[in-house]
Symmetry: C2
C-alpha cells in the first residue's frame, strides 16, 4: 500500500465499495459531483446513524462495519429488518420516495460511512436512466428478499429462523481463522433479527450448542454443523 492511499480512497471514483452498489452506474461527472459533496463519518458501535421518522437529506454508503436497520413495534421491541455492510446504501427509499424513513439505523460494529447529500442522487435519478434502472434492479431484489422474510417469519418456527439467521451471518459476513463468525451480535440483537424474546433466543442458542450445531466462546459464535442447521431450516 502506498502512503497516499487515504487520499485516493476518499474519492468516490476510486472507492472499491462502489463496485457493490448502484453508484457504479454513474458517469464520471455525476460521480465527481457526489464525491465533492459527500462527507465521511466514523460511527462507533452502538451509535445511531438515523432514527425512525427522520427526514433524511441524503444517503449513507457503508465503507466499513455493519449497521442494523430496525423498526420499533408497538410492544416496545425492535425488529431488525436488515443488516447493512460494506457497499450497501442506506436511506435510499426515504430519498427516492421523499418520505421520512421508516427505519432506524444503529451501528453494530465500528463503522466508516460516507454521507451523500440527496441533491446529487436525485439529479442523477432524473437524468441517467441507467443509474435509475440500476437502483430499481437493486430494489426489486430487496423486495423479493423481503417477501422471503415475510414467509419465513410467518411460517417458520423460532428455532428454524434462528438456524437460518446463523447461516445468514456466515454467508454474508463470513468467519475468521478460528471458525467464529466475523459479525458478533448480542443475544438481544439476535432475538430482534429472528423476532423473538431475548430469553427464547438464549435458550435456543444453548440448545444448538448442546446439540453441537454451533460452538461458542464468550459472545463469539461458530458454526459447527452447517448441514444440521440447514436440515432444521428445511423442517427435518
Amino acid at each position: 500500500m502506498s502512503g497516499n492511499q487515504k487520499i485516493m480512497d476518499s474519492r468516490c471514483e476510486n472507492c472499491i465499495v462502489r463496485q457493490f452498489n448502484s453508484l457504479r452506474a454513474m458517469n464520471k461527472e455525476e460521480l465527481k459531483k457526489v464525491s465533492d459533496s459527500k462527507t465521511t463519518k466514523k460511527i462507533k458501535k452502538g451509535q445511531p446513524l438515523f432514527e425512525e421518522g427522520e427526514k433524511l437529506n441524503g444517503v449513507f454508503c457503508v465503507r466499513n462495519g455493519v449497521s442494523k436497520l430496525s423498526k420499533l413495534s408497538a410492544n416496545g421491541k425492535d425488529q431488525i429488518v436488515k443488516l447493512a455492510s460494506k457497499g450497501e446504501v442506506m436511506g435510499q427509499r426515504s430519498v427516492i420516495a421523499e418520505e421520512s424513513t421508516n427505519l432506524s439505523a444503529v451501528a453494530v460494529s465500528d463503522m466508516e460511512v460516507c454521507f451523500i447529500p440527496k441533491d446529487s442522487i436525485v439529479n442523477t435519478l432524473h437524468k441517467n436512466p441507467n443509474f435509475t434502472l440500476e437502483v430499481l434492479r437493486h430494489m426489486a431484489h430487496d423486495l423479493k428478499e423481503a417477501d422471503d422474510v415475510i414467509v419465513n417469519m410467518s411460517q417458520k418456527t423460532v428455532k428454524q429462523r434462528m438456524a437460518e439467521a446463523f447461516l445468514y451471518l456466515k454467508n454474508n459476513f463470513g468467519e475468521n481463522a478460528d471458525g467464529f463468525l466475523n459479525l458478533t451480535l448480542s443475544r438481544e440483537d439476535m432475538a430482534n433479527v429472528v423476532g423473538t424474546a431475548t430469553e427464547s433466543a438464549i435458550r435456543i442458542i444453548s440448545e444448538f450448542k448442546k446439540k453441537g450445531y454451533i460452538n461458542t466462546s464468550g459472545k463469539k459464535i461458530g458454526i459447527a454443523d452447517e448441514r444440521k442447521l440447514k436440515d432444521l431450516v428445511e423442517g427435518y
Copy 2:
C-alpha cells in the same frame, strides 16, 4: 355509457386503470406500443395467472377483480404476501430483475387483466427516466410496506394481525351497501394472509363476532366496531 365503450376501453391510452400505476408516466408513443402488444384475458375465480418459479415474459395489469400473490413455504402452507386489485401491475419485479417470479398469482374473484409483453416495458425502462423513476417510487413504497409487514408478522399476535387484516380489507376494497366487505375471502385465505392455521383463523373470527367487532352472514363479513379493532391492533 355509449355503445362503443368496449372499444375505447380496450386502448391503454383511454384506460382509467392506468391512472393508478406507473404506466401514466409513459409518453404517447410508448403507450401506443404497449397497447398494440397487449392482450386482455378473463380469469375465473380460483384460476392461476402464474406460478412460483415461472419466467414471466410480461406483466399483468389488473382491470377488474382481485388476485392473491402468495408463496409456498416448506411446511406446505401458502403465505399470501399481497392482494392486487384494479390498477395494480403484477410481475414487474420478475421482469425488471430478469429472474423467475418468487410468487404465485391466483384470482380470488373473477378478473379481467391485460397482459403486456415485457419488450415494451423494458424498452421504456431504458429510455424514459420518468417512467423508470415512477416505477422506482412505486417499488420504494412497496418495500416500505413490506418492512411493516415483517414487523407485524414478527411482533404482533395472530389476533392483532387478524384485526389488521379486516381493517385492510375495508380500507382497500371497501364495503357494499349492506355493510359487508366487498372482498370475501375464504377462511383459509384469511389464515394465509395472517400467517396462521385455518382453525385458528376461524376461532378468532368467531371470537370477534361474539365480541361484536364484526358480523357475518354466510361467508360475508362486515366490520361492526372499527374502533375496537384498531385498539386491538395497537395492543389495548
